[in-house]
């Protein structure tokens, strides 16, 4: 376990020592701030609209942090050949994968925490409301969803040598699932065969990332989602993450690292 934490620590150190992520951070913070501090005569509709935009920004930024960080981990180790002195030490490839996953996930969590804190402070100071529970739940669900994404990206990263291909494909897949994932079965019913069966099959086999989107709970002050549902969703995410990490390991386990 210490080995895994040591590996994760290196991922996190790299992230905060790279300048490009500060750009993303500051940009998100500035836009959130600009949207949050605009004063539109306390029109409830506009306020909600602005909150929606802020949360969307947070979603996109966190997704970018997760995908960009995860996609480059293993390819960068191989490209820079740092993987050789590392794997020459008593660490298994499974531990390497889990360590990389954990590092990416914790780093993403850190980014999420900062984003939500910023959001909470801005809305709180303007509207004097502090629905901490709702925020925590929304952030948790988003973080858990990103675990699936990171697992998926790590899997892609052992097959696509260029992080840019992994990044692009992952982004398209994730955004695709977020937008149409929940409608696939309804769309399926309107189609003829074999499209109908294929879509229905997809609906039951893709990881449903869209379930983790609790933005409406925050925007419409809907209170907290039932804790039982959140717990179930967490288990579902853990299962998917486990499947992706297992597949990553199966692909990486016997890989010849010198080619």
């Amino acid at each position: 376990m210490n080995k895994i934490f040591a590996l994760a620590g290196v991922v996190i150190k790299e992230l905060y020592r790279r300048k490009d992520f500060y750009v993303l951070f500051i940009l998100t913070a500035l836009l959130t701030f600009a949207a949050g501090s605009a004063n539109f005569f306390h029109d409830a509709k506009i306020v909600r609209y602005l909150k929606d935009i802020c949360l969307l920004l947070i979603w996109v930024s966190a997704l970018l942090v997760a995908i960009l960080t995860a996609a480059r981990q293993i390819p960068a180790e191989r490209e820079a050949r740092t993987i050789f002195p590392l794997l020459a030490k008593p660490v298994s490839r499974a531990q390497l994968i889990v360590g990389k996953f954990l590092g990416c996930w914790l780093a993403t969590g850190l980014a999420l925490f900062v984003f939500y804190l910023f959001f909470a402070v801005i809305t709180g100071s303007r509207e004097q409301i502090w629905p901490v529970g709702v925020y925590l739940e929304a952030a948790w669900m988003q973080w858990v969803m990103l675990a699936i994404v990171i697992g998926m990206v790590l899997l892609g990263s052992i097959y696509f040598a260029a992080p840019s291909s992994t990044t692009t494909i992952a982004f398209i897949v994730v955004v695709g699932i977020l937008f149409v994932g929940s409608h696939l079965n309804t769309i399926a019913l309107q189609q003829g065969e074999p499209v109908q069966s294929i879509l229905a099959f997809l609906y039951f086999t893709i990881p449903h990332l869209e379930w983790y989107d609790l933005r409406d709970f925050v925007v419409y002050d809907m209170g907290m989602a039932p804790v039982g549902a959140v717990a179930l969703a967490t288990l579902y995410a853990a299962a998917w993450t486990g499947i992706f990490l297992l597949l990553t390991w199966l692909g990486f386990r016997r890989k010849n690292l010198t080619t």
Partner: protein, 250 residues
């Protein structure tokens, strides 16, 4: 004496991406035996299969057939690498870490205690003369300094077996001297060193045992005296073994 590094009928084929072409056979049934306390020179011309052998020993590539073990443990198990140090042919390390952070990270991988780690890091930074730069990121180091970081990391766990892939070929004079010093010191401590090289004068000076590989096959193995018997020096013996008789005569 106990055998601590062994390969048996080790065969490695590199699969060719273009399936119309044959696979590249890098090793054809290599049998090697290195015993505790030996300084073992692994010799061969470029492309002989030295790096490939080390890559199998370190678990980077799976053997096509045959087996390899360190300390009697199959190299497929990570624990086989607990007591070894490795210095790659080309060294690269995490550029965004400092030398001290890098060593600390590797120490954690070995499961060293905090106090042990502190002591080792202090000793090693002194040994490779990087104390002054230990808190600077590695990306600010010169090439020679980066190579010395490599030497330090290979010794972080106080290894019983040191595996070095052409350790002196890419080094600056200070690095070379350090490597030679370190090999000598480890030898005095009764440790084992397995290193590849094609600089025969150097090998003759520091090794007690050698093996010569050529085109993936073992051509000779024994003490330096045994191999060079009947030849003016090791270099001539080497040239004879790998089939450059004319060069040897001239």
């Amino acid at each position: 004496m106990t055998v601590i590094l062994q390969t048996q009928k080790l065969r490695v084929e590199y699969r060719n991406r273009d399936f119309r072409q044959a696979n590249k056979v890098a090793l054809l049934g290599l049998d090697l035996e290195v015993r505790a306390g030996e300084v073992f020179g692994f010799l061969g011309p470029n492309g002989a299969g030295k790096t490939t052998t080390m890559n199998v020993l370190l678990g980077f590539i799976p053997p096509t057939s045959g087996s390899a073990s360190l300390f009697g443990i199959d190299v497929r198990q990570p624990i086989a690498r607990q007591r070894i140090g490795y210095l790659p042919e080309l060294t690269y390390y995490y550029k965004f870490l400092t030398a001290e952070e890098l060593l600390r990270f590797y120490a954690k991988i070995f499961g060293l205690s905090r106090s042990e780690t502190d002591r080792r890091i202090a000793d090693l930074l002194k040994l490779v003369e990087l104390e002054h730069a230990s808190k600077r990121p590695i990306k600010s180091y010169s090439k020679g300094m980066q190579q010395r970081v490599g030497i330090a990391q290979s010794l972080i766990n106080n290894p019983d077996l040191l595996i070095l892939d052409e350790p002196t070929s890419g080094l600056d004079p200070l690095g070379r001297m350090k490597v030679r010093e370190i090999i000598q010191r480890l030898k005095d401590e009764g440790k084992t060193v397995f290193f590849s090289s094609h600089e025969l004068g150097e090998v003759e000076a520091i090794c007690d045992h050698v093996a010569i590989v050529h085109q993936g096959e073992l051509k000779a193995m024994g003490t330096v005296a045994e191999i060079s018997a009947g030849h003016p020096n090791l270099e001539q013996a080497f040239l004879k073994v790998v089939g450059y008789q004319n060069a040897a005569a001239s």
